[in-house]
Symmetry: C2
C-alpha cells in the first residue's frame, strides 16, 4: 500500500489509519491552524503599543506622547534613592490595573502611589523594571537566566500570573540536576509551583548526587526545613515505588515457579 | 487491518496513512492544541477589563473607578444633540489610541476631542457605541445582522481592521443570493473587500435571478456605476469560463474520437 501522506510503500504491519480517519485528521489540522491564525491576530490587536517602543534608546526622552499617567521607579531601599542610572518608566494606570490586582488596589484607592502618581519598586534593576512594564503592555519578554528570575520575582509580587507561568516555563526548560536544588529553593520562596514540582522531580531522581552539592550544605545551614520537605517526598516516593514493585515481583515469581514445576 | 484511530477493520482500498505518519500527525495535533491553549491564555491576559463591565445596567453609574479619561457620545448630527436615551460612554485614551489610528490622531494632537475630553460619534446608536468600545477593550462582540452592520461602519470609519474582519466574517456567513446585491453595495460603501468579493461571487452565480430583484431596480436609479462593475465582472467571468472550457472540450472530443476508431 502507498501512504497517502508520505507516499511511501508500506506493509500491513506498518499500517496506521483508514482513509476516512486520515481525511478527518487533515480537516482537524486545518481547523486548528485556522484557529491559531485567528488567535494570533487577536493577540496582535489586543497587544498594546508600549511607552517604551517609542524610545530608541532608554535614556532618550519619549518623542511622542503616549497617554501615560503614572511613573514607575526602580528604588534602592538601603539608600532611599532611585537605583543608579535609572530613569522613571512611564506607564498607564489602566494598563497596570488591568494586568495586576496589586497595582489595581494601589491605584484605585487613595494610597500614596495613587496620589503621587509614582510607584516605587524596590529590589529590582532598571532593566528588569523596563522588561516588566513591556510585558504588561505586550505579553512579550526576551528572557535569559537572570531576567527570568527577576521577572518571576516581580510577577509573584504583583500577582501577574501569566508572566509567572512564562518565566517558569523558561526556567523549567533550563533545569538540570545541578541547578535543581537552587531552583527548588527559589521556587519555594516565590510561590512558583510548576518550577517547584519540576525541580523536586529532578532532585528525587538524583538524590545521592544532589546531597553532595555545595548548595545542599548551604541549605542545611540556612533553611533545613526545605531539606526536610525534600526528604519527606523522597521517602514517600520510595514507599510508593516499593508498593508498586511488590505485586509485580510476586506475579513474576509465581510465573517463574509455574514454569519450573 | 485495524485502523489505529477509529479501531474499525478496513481493506487495502480504504487504506490511509502508514503508522509513522499517523504518529507524526498525532504529535502535530497535540502541538497545535498546546499552541492554541497558550494563545488563549495570552488573549485572556491582554484582554482589557472594560469600563462597561462594572455597570450591571447601562444607566447605572460606574461603581468602581476604572481609569477612564475620555467620554464618547453618540451624537445626532441633525439635532446637534446627543442621541436620545444615551449616556456618555467612558473610556481610556490609551486604549482608544492603541486600537484605532484615527482615535490616536485625534487624541495625540491638540484637536477639539483631546482638549475637551469628549469624542462625538455621529450616526451611531447608543448600543452600537457601547459594543464598539467593548470590542476595543476585549476583542469581543455579540453580533446580530444589525449590530454587524453598525460595527462594520464604525470599524471602517475609525480604521479598526480587526473588528472589520470580524464583522465581515459574520456577514459572509449569513450571505445568500437574495441579500447579495445589498451586501455588495454596503461593502462597496464601507471598503469591506472580503464581503465585496463574497457578495460578487454569489451575484455572478445567480445573475439572472439577481437582475429581477427590487434592489436591482433601486440600484439602477441610485448607483448604476455599481451595476456596471458587476456586469464587467460577469463578462470577464464568461470569457474566462469559455477560455477554460474550450481546450477541455477538445481533449474530450479527441478521446471520444480515439475510442470510436
Amino acid at each position: 500500500m502507498k501512504c497517502v501522506s508520505c507516499k511511501d510503500e508500506y506493509g500491513t504491519a506498518d499500517a496506521g489509519t483508514c482513509r476516512e480517519c486520515y481525511e478527518e485528521a487533515s480537516e482537524t489540522e486545518e481547523e486548528l491552524k485556522r484557529e491559531i491564525e485567528e488567535l494570533k491576530s487577536k493577540v496582535n490587536f489586543l497587544r498594546f503599543w508600549t511607552p517604551l517602543d517609542s524610545r530608541p534608546h532608554h535614556y532618550h526622552r519619549s518623542i511622542t506622547p503616549c497617554f501615560t499617567d503614572v511613573l514607575l521607579v526602580a528604588f534602592d531601599e538601603d539608600s532611599g534613592k532611585p537605583v543608579t542610572d535609572s530613569v522613571p518608566v512611564a506607564a498607564n494606570k489602566a494598563v497596570l490595573a488591568s494586568r495586576s490586582p496589586v497595582f489595581r488596589a494601589m491605584l484605585e484607592t487613595e494610597m500614596e502611589e495613587s496620589l503621587s502618581g509614582t510607584i516605587k519598586l524596590s529590589d529590582v534593576s532598571y532593566d528588569a523594571l523596563r522588561a516588566f512594564v513591556h510585558y504588561l503592555y505586550t505579553a512579550e519578554a526576551c528572557l535569559d537566566d537572570e531576567m527570568a528570575c527577576d521577572l518571576l520575582v516581580l510577577a509573584d509580587k504583583y500577582e501577574v500570573k501569566h508572566l509567572k507561568t512564562y518565566c517558569e516555563k523558561y526556567m523549567i526548560s533550563k533545569l538540570n540536576w545541578e541547578s535543581s536544588l537552587i531552583s527548588y529553593s527559589f521556587a519555594h520562596q516565590h510561590n512558583a509551583n510548576n518550577l517547584l514540582d519540576a525541580s523536586l522531580s529532578l532532585i528525587l531522581d538524583n538524590m545521592e548526587k544532589v546531597s553532595k552539592l555545595g548548595e545542599y550544605q548551604e541549605l542545611v545551614e540556612k533553611d533545613p526545613r526545605l531539606l526536610v520537605e525534600i526528604y519527606e517526598a523522597y521517602l514517600s516516593k520510595q514507599v510508593n515505588t516499593a508498593a508498586v514493585a511488590t505485586p509485580a515481583a510476586v506475579v513474576h515469581e509465581s510465573k517463574v515457579t509455574r514454569r519450573i514445576f
